[in-house]
């Protein structure tokens, strides 16, 4: 019952396990295809008009599977953010990063990294632009950057 006693004998297991998932994206792959072309799309249900992000093939409002892709533009407003200094094991090779939630004009909110501005200069309400990126493994993703003054 001794706490923090470092000398307790433990058995270091001989078996290790690596998990890596193949995640199906076939029903909404257009999102990733368009992202590669610099467009930010999401799904709109053609039965009830509901727009969803993350994109989903089945409408959470009316359960219809009929949908179309809509371009929601690239401009968002910063809702909230944080600067992650202690990162998970699989991000060990990444520098600390800022995570933001941005809200688009149609009310859709998106969570992504915020790049191109030191966290001390991030401000709730500031204008952001979403940009496409590609990881070193070739996977597409997106980030926010501060919008250029117009």
């Amino acid at each position: 019952m001794q706490e923090e006693k470092q000398q307790q004998p433990t058995l270091h297991s001989r078996r290790s396990l690596t998990l890596r998932f193949d995640i199906p994206i076939s029903r909404t792959h257009e999102f990733w295809d368009a992202l590669g072309e610099g467009r930010f799309l999401t799904t709109r249900c053609t039965a009830c008009g509901n727009e969803s992000f993350p994109p989903q093939a089945d409408c959470p409002r009316c359960m219809s599977d009929r949908f179309e892709w809509v371009d929601i533009g690239r401009e968002a407003r910063l809702v909230t953010y944080t600067y992650v200094q202690v990162t998970p094991a699989s991000f060990v090779n990444d520098d600390p990063y800022t995570i933001a939630i941005g809200e688009f004009a149609n009310g859709i909110k998106v969570l992504a990294w915020l790049e191109g501005v030191p966290v001390e200069r991030a401000k709730v309400g500031m204008k952001l632009t979403v940009e496409a990126r590609r990881s070193s493994e070739g996977n597409p993703y997106y980030v926010f950057v501060p919008s250029l003054p117009s």
Binding site: E4, Q8, F53, Q85, V86, S90, Y97, V110
Partner: protein, 388 residues
């Protein structure tokens, strides 16, 4: 539906428990709870084990725990509601007694989080949301989730880092009086503010630790409860709710909608109001979470949570004492055990057995357990009462 009482409570020492494996750790609480109840194990027909798992070697914790404790041929399952798995286990065990399926049921919460390295634990908790959209590319962490709420709360209500630090100071004060708590030392506001930033504005001392621990409660119907004890603690009402996996789908970031909903449902089921609650445990995985919980549960108005802390209203002698066991912050947060640990704490408070310098005055005989899973992904509120 039958009335259901907690008739036995058990709690392990929380901390880095390199001295025991999963089953041995759970056994510590099971033995205490069964002894406290004064029943034979053969009377227990139903065992529900709350455990999130993934960071310890066993894949089927319920059967491993039951085998070690000599609980054979019981109806059993492991339940998962992230950090509210313990409350979920109590809920399922409660229902088996309430419906008459069993006369006596056992709810066990157990977690061993320190058998893997710290960064792997950070990874596993960070995946608790929407893996695909918020972890895969962006590496969310548990502190980061709550930091998004903290920034919003600070921006909207002028809540400060000092306010949040005061929550940690309170937690450590009561933790120092609880022999089962992981942290036994008092801290200062300055120490919190100068600790390492983990996800700004949250710092190391705003955060609960990684913890090994277990807790258990024996539940019984009224007939059995009257036979066993003069001090049954009744489960008067349970409310539970949930919210989106993706944080981006939430309407706002200044409170947990799941907590508000679970609270309303629990108050309604128990036919009590927030004002009648004598003592509560609130889910303080981070200091901001406790401040939001005060507001979400109706202990104060939205935006007034920090004021409650500044005025000492959630300490003994205040309007509503909260987390007199040290909370998740100082007692520790073994994910699946936490909800059951909270039930044990409120049971002891209502029995008047909480211990020196941390017993709340009990006037109405009403206690409340607030247990959140993930970042408001799940929420459970359980109202307990003593007396007839």
């Amino acid at each position: 539906m039958n009335r259901v009482a907690i008739v036995g409570a058990g709690h392990s020492k929380f901390g880095k428990r390199k001295d025991v494996n999963l089953a041995e750790l759970a056994f510590e609480s099971i033995k205490q709870a069964v002894t406290d109840a004064g029943i034979e194990r053969k009377e227990i027909k139903n065992v529900v084990v709350g455990s999130a798992g993934g960071w310890y070697e066993e894949a089927l914790p319920a059967v491993v725990v039951n085998e070690y404790a000599g609980l054979r041929s019981v109806g059993t399952m492991r339940v998962e509601a992230a950090c509210a798995s313990g409350s979920a286990a109590v809920k399922v065990a409660h229902d088996s007694v309430a419906t008459g399926e069993s006369d006596v049921a056992l709810a066990v919460g157990v977690e061993k989080m320190t058998e893997v390295d710290t960064m792997t634990s950070v990874e596993l908790i960070g995946r608790a949301g929407s893996y695909m959209w918020e972890f895969e590319n962006y590496g969310m962490t548990f502190p980061a989730y709550y930091a998004l709420y903290a920034v919003s709360h600070m921006n909207r209500f002028k809540t400060t880092e000092e306010d949040m630090a005061r929550v940690a100071v309170k937690a450590h004060h009561y933790g120092s009086l609880n022999p089962n708590a992981q942290f036994q030392k008092e801290i200062t506001v300055e120490k919190v503010l100068s600790s390492q930033v983990v996800a700004w504005p949250l710092k190391l001392y705003d955060a609960c630790p990684l913890t090994d621990g277990s807790a258990a409660v024996v539940l019984a119907n009224e007939e059995v409860a009257r036979r066993l004890t003069d001090t049954p603690v009744w489960i008067k009402g349970i409310g539970y709710s949930s919210d989106s996996a993706n944080l981006s789908k939430r309407d706002d970031y200044v409170g947990l909608t799941a907590s508000v909903e679970a609270g309303k449902r629990a108050y309604q089921a128990a036919k009590v109001t927030p004002r009648q609650v004598d003592v509560a445990t609130c889910h303080d995985c981070f200091t901001i979470a406790e401040i939001m919980a005060y507001e979400d549960l109706g202990f104060c108005e939205k935006g007034e949570g920090a004021r409650l802390v500044r005025e000492g209203q959630t300490e003994i002698g205040g309007k509503i004492p909260v987390n007199l066991d040290g909370g998740l912050k100082a007692k520790g947060h073994p994910i699946g055990a936490t909800g059951v640990s909270m039930m044990v704490e409120i049971t002891k408070q209502l029995r008047g057995e909480a211990g020196r310098n941390r017993q709340a005055p009990i006037k109405n005989g009403i206690g409340l357990v607030h247990n959140v899973g993930g970042t408001g992904h799940y929420a459970y509120v359980t109202v307990l009462s003593r007396g007839a």
